[in-house]
Amino acid sequence: MDASNYLYISALLFTIGAVGVVVRRNAIVVFMCIELMLNAANLSFVTFSRINGDLDGQVMAFFTMVVAACEVVVGLAIIVTIYRSRRSASVDDASLLKR
């Protein structure tokens, strides 16, 4: 069993997450896709730590998880706030930066 197979899975998951960010309109689903991307990166870290034989990759993944958790907290709070004032959770509604 080749450890690099996990790397391929990680790349695929990351790609799917990237497409999801671009394609979906619901803000929460977009957020979930971002989480998917982070997780794919975590998988890569863990695989590399296994390949290299030391735990640095796992520590990195740990930190990533912590930061992702913070990010989710703040991000969802923002989404809730926006939803309260605009009554809509679609990312397309915030388009005031257009030309």
């Binding site: 990237a18 497409v19 960010v21 671009v22 394609v23 309109r25 990312v91 397309d92 915030a94 388009s95 005031l96 930066l97 257009k98 030309r99």
Partner: protein, 630 residues
């Protein structure tokens, strides 16, 4: 070569007059004309002094030079601004200043009612200065400065009454056609520099033997073009008739005596070039012959007295050009005819001015008639000039014109026969149209308008006319007595090829010429004296008359061949500039704007499209790494 310090005064005096009158403005109105006349006369005085000095010296020491300053010093091109007064230039200097001063005096009275009189005299002085620079320059480049100067003065003077659009256009036409000729002079100077490395007369004369005949022929043709432009020779002759829009003194000075003779001066001065390039010389002769006939034919149909005299000038200069193209034998006769022509033509122009002055500025000869009783002095002076131009002995024209006819015949072979016949025929036609002018103006019945009351001109006007009439009578004899002028100019020309063979004896030539003249006079007499002269030009005339009235279609030709294509070219170029050049510039702007609009679509404010862009950017980055890793 003797040096002198006084040559510059010849030019400086009238130039100072011009500057003073133009810069001084209205303050100089009261005495400006008198000062200008005095300066012109003083220039004549200096010229007489120089002549007296020159006559006393030996032949080799006669030419006098004065270096003014070092003008151009670029690499191998060194030109000094200098003046050269030799036997040829002194003739011109005296002609210009002498006739010029007389015309200054005439203009005091002729232009007395014009409130721009001061400006007129300033321009006259400017002309005198420029023409003197032209004949006194010691290099082609200095000559060019004078050449341009007289062109400018001519433009200013023809268009002196430029509040009339037709006159302003006429001056522009003269200037533009002159410019075409000036191109020729520029090219000649360029050829001289390119092949010989020098542009001074002495330098070029030395280098002629080392230069290829092709280069010399080219230079000769270019000089011929320049002369044709300035002297109103074919094919650049169309401006002379329209130049009569200027005041009559201008026509007398510039377009009879001096400026139009500058071309002949140029050809004569460049004799070393033409003598070494027979093809160019042949062209000179051909141009002279064509113009001779051209001018004569136009002169027969003109009702405007000034235009008739202008056509006559064109024809007479054709004689001079023809003579100059005959080589060393002909140069002296060309100059002689030039000098005598200066007298009688200027005199006739001043006479025409006098007639106009008495007839309320009417120029149409059909409105004249029987003026000899009312303007006797004018009649006499004009008549003496008329006899001179006909070539009746012992008047001036007899000597000069007959010598030209004789030299033409003596050129030998077919060329000689053709040229001789042309000159003879020209003499006959000259007699015809000049007699027509005399008859229509001074004899016959009155055909005046109601408000005409002809009177003799004041003394300030008829005195110069009288002096010029004396010249018309005596100058020919004086110049040819004992071959005076020929010997005077002899050292300048290269005579090693002279083979005098006489096809016809001189007396035979004179007889033939007089016969032609008599025939011409008789035809004119019969046509105009015996029959009624209509005061309005008749319409049902032969096609030849119609063509002659149209100046032998010269303007039509110029318009069709040069003007219309030129206009079409400029229109095309303007349209092309607008469409192509401006279009490209506008196109670039529009491309920029279009691409800006296109790119602007990217900024649509949607987060997802920005995210997509980030993704694409990441892909690009990885692709770059992929390529590097390959």
């Amino acid at each position: 070569m003797t040096t002198s310090t006084s040559l510059v005064y010849l030019i400086a005096l009238p130039l100072a007059g011009a500057a003073l009158l133009l810069l001084g403005g209205r303050r100089t109105n009261k005495w400006g004309h008198l000062l200008a006349t005095a300066l012109s006369a003083s220039s004549f005085g200096v010229g007489l002094y120089e002549l007296s000095q020159m006559v006393g010296r030996s032949e080799e020491a006669r030419p006098v030079s004065q270096k003014l300053f070092e003008w151009i010093n670029v690499g191998t091109f060194n030109v000094d601004a200098g003046l050269l007064l030799d036997q040829l230039s002194i003739c011109f200097v005296l002609l210009i200043t002498g006739v010029g001063t007389l015309i200054h005096i005439y203009s005091i009275s002729y232009m007395s009612h014009d409130h721009d009189r001061r400006r007129f005299f300033a321009y006259l002085n400017l002309f005198i200065a420029a023409m003197l620079l032209l004949v006194l320059g010691d290099s082609y480049l200095s000559l060019y400065v004078g050449w341009e100067g007289v062109g400018l003065a001519s433009y200013l003077l023809i268009g002196f009454w430029n509040h009339k659009p037709a006159y302003a256009t006429a001056s522009k036409k003269a200037f533009v056609m002159n410019r075409v000729g000036d191109m020729g002079l520029s090219f000649a100077i360029m050829i001289a520099f390119a092949t010989m490395g020098t542009v001074s007369f002495a330098g070029v004369a030395e280098q002629v033997d080392n230069t290829s005949e092709a280069a010399l022929t080219g230079m000769g043709i270019m000089l011929l073009i320049a002369a044709a432009g300035k002297s109103a020779q074919f094919p650049l002759q169309a401006w002379l008739g329209d130049a009569m829009a200027g005041p009559t003194p201008v026509s007398a000075l510039i377009h009879a005596a001096t400026m139009v003779t500058a071309g002949v001066y140029l050809i004569t001065r460049s004799n070393f070039v033409f003598d070494a390039a027979p093809t160019a010389q042949l062209l000179v002769v051909i141009v002279g012959a064509i113009t001779l006939m051209f001018g004569a034919l136009i002169g027969t149909a003109k009702d405007d007295i000034k235009k008739a005299l202008a056509a006559s000038t064109m024809s007479q200069i054709g004689y001079m050009t023809l003579a100059a193209g005959l080589g060393p034998v002909g140069y002296a006769f060309a100059i002689m005819h030039l000098l005598t022509h200066g007298f009688f033509k200027a005199g006739m122009f001043l006479g025409a001015g006098s007639v106009m002055h008495g007839m309320n500025d009417e120029v149409n000869m059909r409105k004249y008639g029987a003026l000899r009783k009312f303007m006797p002095i004018t009649f006499v002076t004009f008549g003496l000039g008329y006899l001179a131009i006909l070539g009746v002995p012992p008047f001036a024209g007899f000597y000069s014109k007959d010598m030209i006819i004789e030299t033409a015949f003596n050129a030998g072979g077919v060329k000689g026969i053709i040229l001789g016949s042309v000159t003879l025929l020209g003499a006959g036609i000259t007699a015809f149209y000049m007699t027509r002018v005399m008859i229509l103006t001074f004899t016959g019945t009155k055909r005046w308008d109601e408000d005409a009351h002809p009177h003799e001109s004041p003394w300030l006007m008829w005195l110069p006319m009288a002096i010029l009439a004396i010249g018309s009578v005596s100058s020919g004899y004086l110049l040819s007595r004992g071959d005076a002028l020929e010997h005077w100019l002899h050292p300048l020309f290269d005579h090693h090829e002279e083979h005098e063979h006489h096809l016809l004896e001189p007396i035979v030539v004179s007889g033939l010429a007089l016969t032609m003249v008599a025939i011409g006079v008789a035809i004119a007499f019969v046509k105009y004296s015996r029959q009624e002269v209509a005061s309005i030009a008749p319409e049902d005339v032969s096609v030849f008359t119609k063509i002659a009235r149209q100046d032998l279609m010269q303007d039509r030709f110029n318009e069709a061949v040069f003007m219309r294509p030129g206009q079409a070219l400029t229109t095309t170029l303007v349209a092309a500039d607008d469409a192509v050049v401006d279009g490209t510039v506008r196109g670039i702007g529009q491309v920029a704007m279009g691409s800006g609009s296109a790119l602007r679509g990217v900024q649509n404010g949607f987060v997802r499209s920005y995210a997509a862009l980030i993704l694409v950017g990441a892909v690009a980055l990885i692709a770059a790494i992929w390529v590097v890793v390959q």
